[in-house]
């Protein structure tokens, strides 16, 4: 009996009905244990407050039977498709098409984004949504410097967003400074807080770093809530000036932009202006990040993510390198915060909860750490996708969560997981995500 490798592989794949039944049986038992209390017994408070219960063994039996049958079907499917990777299921024509799309996706997306206010001029809802998506694209790109490039897990990114927003809000309402003066200041102040956060956490790695940054995010929020004299506490800051077109207000007054251009005033002008403002800020973030990656500091960030000990052996000051990563990421967060404040006209601590940090981090992880295009796509999917499921009402979060889980199973290293080299001799080859480290603090 000499079986060729092919035959043995086939034999093991179609291996036996006993195996099938065993797997299905185990799954059915697990289902029975799980659902016996959840579905098998129904309890409710009776009319006099006593506990009443009744059994639903019929439902339980049908669930267990469904699991039994379902696991046989899944196992059969798995054997039929075989251990081939998901790529092999995609025909080559589609694959080459996808690589074609991949090459032109970023420019196409950029052109489309530039045209959004033209196409959707009369749809305020879409314009607002686009501004929201772009804000998160910018936040994602900012956090990408810290998490994606330097490999420092930051769970308190919203703190810098808050610092930027409050910097602009307080400077503008108290001193009447214009948006264009406050914007760089907001970035500088946020970067300053980034350095302040950086110092105590430099020695920490991985989980410990994540916890301290999480705490930092909460500290900033609590300070904002409790420092009532300055920040207005839970009431927030209102009456934040709207942005001006370099000094020309975008309103219905006589010296407004519409009047100066001799066109009819429309509130949409301001929305379109805000759209292009955040687009410009996001593109600035992108441009600076792409340039920084090709400079020694950016390479040092990535080297730090790959191996910190080796960095030190090469004479790289890991302390300042980490601090610059924190400061750069924080600065972009601060810019985004200032934009948020001027767009809303009102800010309060409620806008800067941990959920925001988690959302931005999810965008970076889903997009593929370090990938600029991936982060943009992920922001679109997360913010836009969430709106897309609005019609599902109660099940919105459930469907959205399931979609996230499926995407992470399909692409464990994010939508765009591979890494592009920053310098090359003959040809830039994408580096597989298996080799790229995720960093550990």
């Amino acid at each position: 009996m000499t079986a060729t490798p092919h035959e043995t592989a086939k034999a093991s794949r179609t291996a036996g009905i006993p195996f099938l039944l065993k797997t299905a049986f185990i799954n059915a038992v697990i289902a029975l244990v799980l659902f016996s209390l959840m579905i098998g017994i129904r309890t409710e408070a009776g009319s006099d407050g006593q506990l009443t219960y009744w059994t639903r063994f019929g439902d339980l039996a049908s669930i267990v039977a469904a699991v039994f049958g379902g696991s046989i079907v899944i196992e059969l499917l798995r054997q039929w498709i075989g251990p081939t990777g998901a790529e092999k299921l995609v025909p080559p024509a589609v694959q080459s098409g996808m690589s074609f799309i991949g090459r032109y996706l970023a420019p196409a997306l950029l052109v489309f984004t530039l045209l959004v206010p033209v196409i959707f001029y009369n749809q305020r809802y879409i314009l607002d949504l686009a501004i929201l998506v772009l804000t998160y694209v910018m936040l994602g790109w900012g956090l990408n410097v810290v998490v994606g490039l330097a490999g420092l897990l930051d769970l308190g990114y919203v703190a810098f967003y808050a610092v930027g927003a409050y910097s602009y809000a307080l400077l503008a309402t108290n001193f009447g400074w214009s948006f264009w003066v406050c914007l760089p200041l907001a970035g500088i102040l946020a970067a300053f807080w980034g350095v302040l956060l950086g110092f105590p956490v430099l020695r920490l790695r991985g989980d410990y770093l994540a916890i301290v940054t999480l705490a930092f995010g909460e500290i900033i929020r609590l300070v904002i809530i409790n420092w009532q004299d300055l920040t207005g506490g839970p009431n927030g800051v209102s009456g934040i000036p709207r942005p001006t077109f370099f000094g020309i207000p975008l309103d219905n007054s006589d010296d407004g932009l519409a009047a100066k251009l001799r066109i009819e005033y429309s509130p949409t002008h301001r929305i379109v202006f805000l759209f292009y403002l955040i687009l410009a800020l996001a593109l600035l973030t992108n441009w600076v990040t792409i340039r920084l990656r090709r400079l020694p500091i950016g390479r040092a960030w990535e080297a730090l993510r790959e191996d910190e000990v080796a960095c030190r052996a090469l004479g790289i000051n890991t302390t300042t390198t980490k601090l610059t990563a924190f400061a750069t990421g924080a600065m972009f967060g601060g810019f985004a915060g200032a934009f948020f404040a001027t767009r809303q006209g009102f800010i309060s601590p409620e806008s800067f909860t941990f959920q925001e940090s988690a959302l931005v981090l999810a965008i970076v992880v889903l997009g593929g750490m370090g990938s600029q295009l991936g982060v943009a796509l992920a922001a679109l999917a997360m913010i836009g996708g969430f709106e897309l499921f609005r019609s599902l009402e109660t099940y919105r979060m459930l469907v959205f969560g399931m979609a996230m889980v499926l995407i992470m199973i399909w692409r464990p290293r994010g939508l765009i997981g591979h890494r592009a080299p920053t310098v090359y001799l003959t040809k830039a080859q994408a580096i597989s995500s298996d080799l790229v480290k995720e960093g550990h603090g």
């Binding site: 500091i297 990535e302 004479g315 790289i316 001799l425 040809k427």
Partner: protein, 277 residues
């Protein structure tokens, strides 16, 4: 400055709690020579390396580095990255520590971080793209290319370091250390895991580094064929103390060395030492 050793270790002691890993060790490494540090497993060789390169702070003793121009630096007072940056001591690791997700060329570019940082005006000038930085980057790429040629990896320049064969990774790590343009190169078991042919190529590479570039080398190695062939001076350690030193020939015939390596069975020990000649 003839006669002045590039590295002099004076009464170095390193304690971890109650364990004395290195005790009262003194030795010197001559400039433009290859000095080998050998000894059985657990003799404290890597601890000595970590003290020299600043990854450990020694419990006692002095480590002095003397540059060509007579500048002396007390290494025991400097941090790890300052030793690489200011004292110009480069090192490799026993278990290879490349940046696996970066290309071979990028690995060599990261090694030139400090030069490039200065050229890029600490990022600010580089960000706006001044020509001086572009020239500096071109020079850095030229140096990296030169090293890729020397280690015979030019055609793999744009491949991820993690994708290279084991022997290639070892050579790339040495090239990366050399791209920092060190005065002293410390190699922790560079021949570990290499086959005979690769070991021979490594010996050649190390000799060319000594002869053509004039970098002093301090080497920890178990592969006696490499040690005996290329070393100018050998220091033998056992249980944290120096038990012998001298030329390869002197060390090979030293009964204390033979005893340390193989108990007291001198015939067997002699056979092993013989194989390296």
């Amino acid at each position: 400055m003839s006669g002045e050793p590039i590295l002099s270790v004076d009464r170095l002691t390193m304690r971890f709690g109650g364990i004395v890993a290195v005790h009262d060790l003194s030795f010197a490494a001559e400039p433009k020579k290859i000095t080998a540090l050998i000894g059985p497993n657990g003799a404290g060789k890597t601890t000595v390396f970590n003290c020299i390169t600043g990854f450990y702070k020694p419990s006692g003793g002095a480590i002095r580095l003397t540059h060509d121009d007579g500048r002396q630096i007390a290494l025991e007072r400097l941090n790890d990255f300052r030793i690489a940056k200011q004292a110009k001591v480069a090192r490799t690791f026993q278990n290879i520590r490349l940046f696996p997700g970066m290309t071979a060329l990028e690995n060599l570019m990261v090694a030139q971080h400090n030069t490039l940082m200065r050229a890029s005006g600490f990022t600010f000038l580089g960000l706006i793209g001044v020509p001086t930085y572009r020239d500096a980057e071109k020079q850095a790429i030229a140096l990296a290319t030169d090293w890729l040629k020397r280690i015979n990896l030019l055609d793999r320049a744009d491949d991820a370091a993690g994708n290279l064969a084991y022997g290639d990774q070892r050579r790339l790590e040495i090239a990366r250390a050399m791209c920092t343009e060190p005065a002293l190169l410390c190699l922790d078991e560079p021949a570990a895991g290499l086959n005979a042919r690769e070991s021979a190529a490594l010996s050649e590479l190390l000799l060319s580094i000594r002869n053509e570039i004039g970098t002093s080398i301090l080497l920890i190695e178990h592969d006696m064929s490499v040690v005996m062939e290329i070393s100018d001076h050998i220091v033998v350690m056992d249980h944290g103390v120096k038990i012998a030193q001298g030329t390869p020939r002197e060390v090979r015939d030293d009964p204390k060395v033979i005893a340390a390596y193989l108990g007291t069975d001198e015939e067997e020990a002699a056979a092993v030492m013989e194989s390296g000649s």
